[in-house]
């Protein structure tokens, strides 16, 4: 074991910290799920990109730094510690991009990656459908061949699409073989949401903002150039993307370490209700445990291993931890816990309530925790398939 950072890694941390200190906006940006906030978050992504901090782990030709996994984790720790804005481009950068690197052709990578990294094009998830939430094999949206125009015509409906309200392009699965069932006959498409036939209906989330949308597609043309991988291979490619979603790509430890540290400070500031002491300490310990678990995962990956179904173990842990730590903060706040942003007396501008509402989505999205537990039981523990 060697739990030290190298001199190069420490240097990288200092460099990231210095830039973030000088550049992170002093005032928090408006929510990325408002029109104004979305644009300002795009501008922040551009600023990150211009300084080559938007996609540190990507190759340099796409605006990255060719940084390794450990450096990426370091950058994330510094990013969250600096209180930098949430990443409006995260669905593209952290979920879709690894899939595009793995399965896209050169033309697709050149066309999409730089615009994604700079925040110019924000990508939207097209996974869930009515009656197919965590059960992606039940996808009904279909695509039929349009040989005359060299492409496909897509019809159907996607729902719970994060960033769907203001985003630009959608990645998702469509059924290209009408006689297929379950995970066969699916194809992975990249859809321009400005295309004729696309209708977007914003959906207000628990926090009142249109963080996701319902997207209707009515005979929407998509050229062959925007099919990812081979037609009919969509399921395999999708598995890679959802693995990124549950695994460490979207949930670096930095994301939880900083709130945990702030919770300790809140506990001191609020005079320290003894009955909540254990819960506060627990929140900090869980964030630490998550960080250590991630180092273990990174070690495994660097040794040539794969994550696979372990990402389900990861997802159950971080989603529970996130809810619990915010719930603890709200209990600490007592009567002030119910105050929403904009209230004159809201503590920390209601970020704990905000964070709580956001965290509640964790056990639901990226495959509900019930689905994850089934996956753990069947694919890690080897139990027979659930009835």
């Amino acid at each position: 074991m060697d739990l030290e950072f190298t001199a190069e890694e420490r240097q990288f941390r200092q460099e990231a910290r210095a830039w973030l200190t000088a550049n992170v906006p002093a005032e928090p940006l408006p929510s990325m799920d408002t029109e104004d906030g979305f644009r300002r978050h795009q501008a922040w992504e551009k600023r990150l990109f211009d300084a080559r901090w938007a996609v540190v782990s990507w190759p340099e030709e796409y605006g990255g730094r060719d940084a390794g996994l450990t450096e990426w984790l370091i950058f994330e720790e510094e990013y969250h510690r600096a209180g930098a804005p949430g990443r409006v481009g995260q669905n593209g950068i952290f979920l879709f991009a690894p899939t595009l690197f793995a399965f896209g052709d050169t033309a697709q990578r050149d066309r999409y990656l730089p615009a994604m990294a700079s925040g110019e094009e924000i990508w939207v998830q097209g996974w869930s459908e009515p009656e197919a939430g965590s059960d992606l094999a039940n996808v009904r949206s279909r695509a039929v061949r349009d040989d005359a125009h060299g492409g496909w015509r897509l019809t159907g409906q996607k729902i719970w699409s994060s960033r769907g309200t203001y985003g630009h392009r959608l990645f998702g699965l469509f059924r290209t073989d009408p006689d297929s069932r379950r995970h066969h006959g699916l194809t992975y498409f990249m859809v321009d949401l400005a295309s004729p036939g696309v209708t977007v209906r914003p959906i207000a989330q628990l926090d009142g903002e249109p963080g996701f949308a319902e997207i209707f597609l009515d005979d929407v043309f998509v050229p062959d150039a925007d099919v990812l991988g081979a037609p009919g291979e969509g399921w395999t490619i999708m598995i890679a993307t959802t693995g990124s979603e549950r695994g460490l790509n979207l949930r670096s430890p930095g994301r939880f370490l900083e709130p945990a540290r702030r919770l300790l400070d809140l506990y001191r500031r609020r005079g320290g209700d003894e009955s909540l002491r254990d819960a506060v300490v627990r929140a900090w310990m869980d964030a630490e445990a998550y960080r250590l678990f991630t180092f273990g995962t990174v070690t495994k990956l660097l040794d040539g291993g794969r994550i696979g179904a372990d990402s389900s173990v990861n997802k159950v842990f971080w989603s529970q931890m996130d809810v619990e730590s915010h719930a603890t903060a709200l209990r600490l706040l007592g009567e002030y816990g119910e105050l929403d942003a904009g209230s004159p007396e809201a503590v920390d501008d209601a970020r704990w309530l905000d964070g709580f509402l956001f965290a509640l989505g964790g056990p639901i999205y990226a495959g509900t925790n019930e689905i994850q537990r089934n996956t753990i039981a069947e694919r890690v523990l080897g139990l027979p398939r659930a009835r």
């Binding site: 074991m1 720790e77 254990d278 506060v280 678990f293 070690t299 027979p384």
Partner: protein, 348 residues
């Protein structure tokens, strides 16, 4: 940055696992329940593998290894619910190596000829004190310097207690500290006692990981073969979720234990906090594993006929031993919420 046992640590663990699979079956654990003195022929065999002298310096016939190897091995011992006092051997060895290297005890422990018991400040009972050849006793009164004594059990008043786990022979130890038994006193003794207690807690945490994995494996096997109303119970989502929850607990406890081993081996300032976290997480994993194992096994798990209880009871005993959860939580809380500002993570 690597969080994984090294190749040698891993191989050592595998060797011990294979040995124990043959020589420490559930039947052997049962035998330890009935035995008056639990130290069996297996002890000498463990010594040949280097296990009893794992942390004994190599110039005293030991392997001279540290906490990382110790936890890799104790995790395997936990999988087998080994009844022999390995944690105590490791704790006693550390103290003897520092304060009484030439008394001969170290080599005898390493060769499997002697069994050590320990009684540190904060511990009420000593394991295997009657069968032991020596008891390392620490005293840390609030108003006087700490002292460490190495005593002969024959010179002590031993009052046998009964553990929930009959394989653990517990004793209240009464003795009169005399100059002849004193090996260390003052601040050096206090520091050594604190480190020894951390080593015991860490070793126990690693042992609990092994117990957790064993109970999980037993329960998965049972859920795959047990048929109820024509259906294998492992197909029920409720059963699957019980077992998945145990795996999540275990997978997150393991790196916490590994980090504590790393910190303690290097004497890092965070070691006490890291060890406490390890004991808390491993104890919780074992507790959840025991409860869910019992629930999934149903009535058969609630009997002494079935082997499950051997592992559950060890888990309960060890969760209480070497500092229970509330003691360790208090230590982490004091570290995080004391006068110093909250620690930044990572520490640079």
């Amino acid at each position: 940055m690597r969080l994984a046992y090294g190749e040698e640590q891993h191989l050592f663990g595998e060797t011990v696992r294979d040995f124990l699979a043959a020589h420490c079956t559930a039947e052997h654990v049962r035998a330890a329940w009935a035995a008056d003195t639990a130290v069996s022929a297996r002890w000498a065999e463990l010594a040949k593998l280097g296990v009893t002298g794992l942390v004994v310096p190599d110039d005293h016939d030991g392997l001279g290894l540290g906490e990382e190897e110790l936890s890799a091995v104790l995790e395997q011992a936990g999988y087998a619910a080994l009844p022999d006092p390995l944690v105590e051997a490791a704790v006693a060895s550390g103290i003897l190596a520092e304060f009484a290297p030439d008394a001969g005890w170290l080599a005898r422990i390493a060769r499997g000829e002697s069994v050590a018991s320990v009684l540190l400040p904060g511990q009420a009972f000593a394991v295997e004190a009657r069968a032991a050849d020596l008891v390392v006793v620490g005293i840390a009164p609030a108003d006087a310097p700490a002292e460490i004594h190495v005593v002969d059990p024959a010179d002590c008043t031993l009052t046998a207690q009964v553990s929930v786990d009959r394989a653990r022979k517990l004793f209240r130890v009464g003795f009169d500290p005399v100059p002849e038994t004193l090996v260390a006193s003052g601040p050096a003794a206090a520091t050594a006692l604190a480190r020894a207690a951390d080593r015991g807690a860490l070793g126990t945490a690693a042992f609990l990981l092994g117990l957790t994995r064993r109970m999980l494996d037993m329960t998965v096997a049972y859920a795959k073969q047990r048929v109820q109303r024509g259906v294998v119970i492992g197909t029920h989502q409720s059963v699957q979720h019980h077992l998945a929850n145990v795996l999540v607990k275990l997978e997150f406890a393991r790196p916490v234990v590994m980090r504590a081993a790393y910190s303690l081996a290097r004497g890092l300032p965070s070691a006490p906090r890291d060890v406490s976290m390890a004991k808390i997480y491993a104890g919780e994993a074992a507790d959840l594993a025991a409860r869910n194992a019992l629930q999934v096994h149903g009535a058969i798990g609630y009997t002494e006929e079935h082997d499950l209880h051997l592992f559950m009871k060890r888990a309960w005993a060890l969760t209480a031993a070497w500092g229970d959860a509330s003691r360790h939580r208090a230590r982490v809380a004091a570290d995080l919420l004391g006068d110093a500002p909250a620690p930044m993570t990572p520490e640079l």
